[in-house]
């Protein structure tokens, strides 16, 4: 989560908007001052994976690697940031 703004090249506010939380809330999450309930974490992480996957696909122009390889790479990156 902490690496999401850098990896996704999005501002904290953009990510907060996408996750329907306030920027201070997202800031507290990435600074480990608070965490959402588990029920809210799963869709948030799924969104991060999806965004990351899209970004990777756009970067590679669909030319390199299969979708599933990109997806697992995205999942690993997100897992590292959790």
């Amino acid at each position: 989560m902490r690496d999401a703004p850098r990896v996704l090249e999005m501002s904290e506010r953009q990510i907060a908007d996408a996750l329907s939380v306030s920027r201070p809330t997202f800031n507290r999450w990435i600074n480990a001052k608070s965490l959402p309930h588990v029920a809210m974490r799963t869709p948030a992480v799924q969104w991060l994976i999806q965004e990351l996957n899209t970004k990777i696909k756009n970067r590679t122009g669909h030319a390199q690697g299969s979708g599933s390889e990109s997806y697992s790479y995205a999942e690993r990156l997100v897992a590292m940031g959790r």
Partner: protein
């Protein structure tokens, strides 16, 4: 003959781009309501920028209701306030759904009690209208205080002060909130025919309810 049902109302978190619309709506009600604190445009813009502004819109995107759930770090309080509903939708229980949506959002995303935060609401001492709602939501009276700032349009007491009752949403009330979402809220408003759509990315209403009920289960 049955009256025509209202079209769906959408409960949503205000995007930054709609801050000026929110301010216009807030002013249209707060300027003529001596019990409502008139917030500045900067206040409303900040609430929207910080994702602390919640609203209700019609399918035609007209704003019908508004409230904020703003964190004041100096007092460790989330204040649920500025609750304003247009007269034409006042009998539908819009305020009740909107306030619960805002409170649930705080609980699900912040887990306020773990960080030592409280959820509070203020009601002008002469304002009887929201007291039933505040009570039904599970708030408990916790004191009185003189309000500061933005009170020029509010009713003052003989001493020139604007005094409000302070209510706190105790952690124990989360069970009640969970039960309301699970057993009473059927995505319909009080008339039983107007759909109430809670727009929430990315997990939707179900995630919000699960989170609230997880908090309740931890009590």
């Amino acid at each position: 003959m049955a009256s025509e049902p209202h079209p769906a109302l959408v409960f949503f978190k205000f995007p930054i781009q709609a801050a000026s619309l929110a301010f216009s709506f807030h002013c249209s009600i707060a300027k003529s309501d001596p019990h409502l604190r008139l917030r500045s445009e900067d206040d409303i813009r900040t609430f929207a920028e910080e994702g602390e502004l919640f609203g209700v819109r019609s399918v035609a995107s007209n704003i019908l209701a508004l409230c904020y759930a703003a964190l004041d770090e100096s007092s460790n309080e989330y204040e649920v306030g500025g609750l304003a509903v247009l007269p034409e939708v006042r009998q539908l229980g819009v305020a009740s759904v909107l306030a619960r949506f805002a409170i649930a959002h705080i609980i699900a995303n912040e887990r306020p009690w773990r960080s030592g935060y409280r959820i509070v609401a203020y009601v002008h001492e002469d304002n009887q209208n929201p007291r039933n709602l505040v009570d039904r939501l599970g708030f408990q009276h916790s004191g009185r205080s003189a309000l500061k700032g933005g009170t020029s349009t509010m009713k003052q007491n003989p001493q020139g002060e604007v005094v409000g009752d302070k209510f706190e949403f105790p952690r124990a009330a989360v069970k009640q909130l969970c039960n309301w979402f699970k057993r009473e809220f059927r995505s319909l408003l009080r008339d039983g025919v107007t759909p109430a759509i809670i727009e929430l990315k990315p997990g939707g209403l179900q995630s919000l309810i699960e989170a609230v009920c997880q908090e309740a289960a931890e009590l």
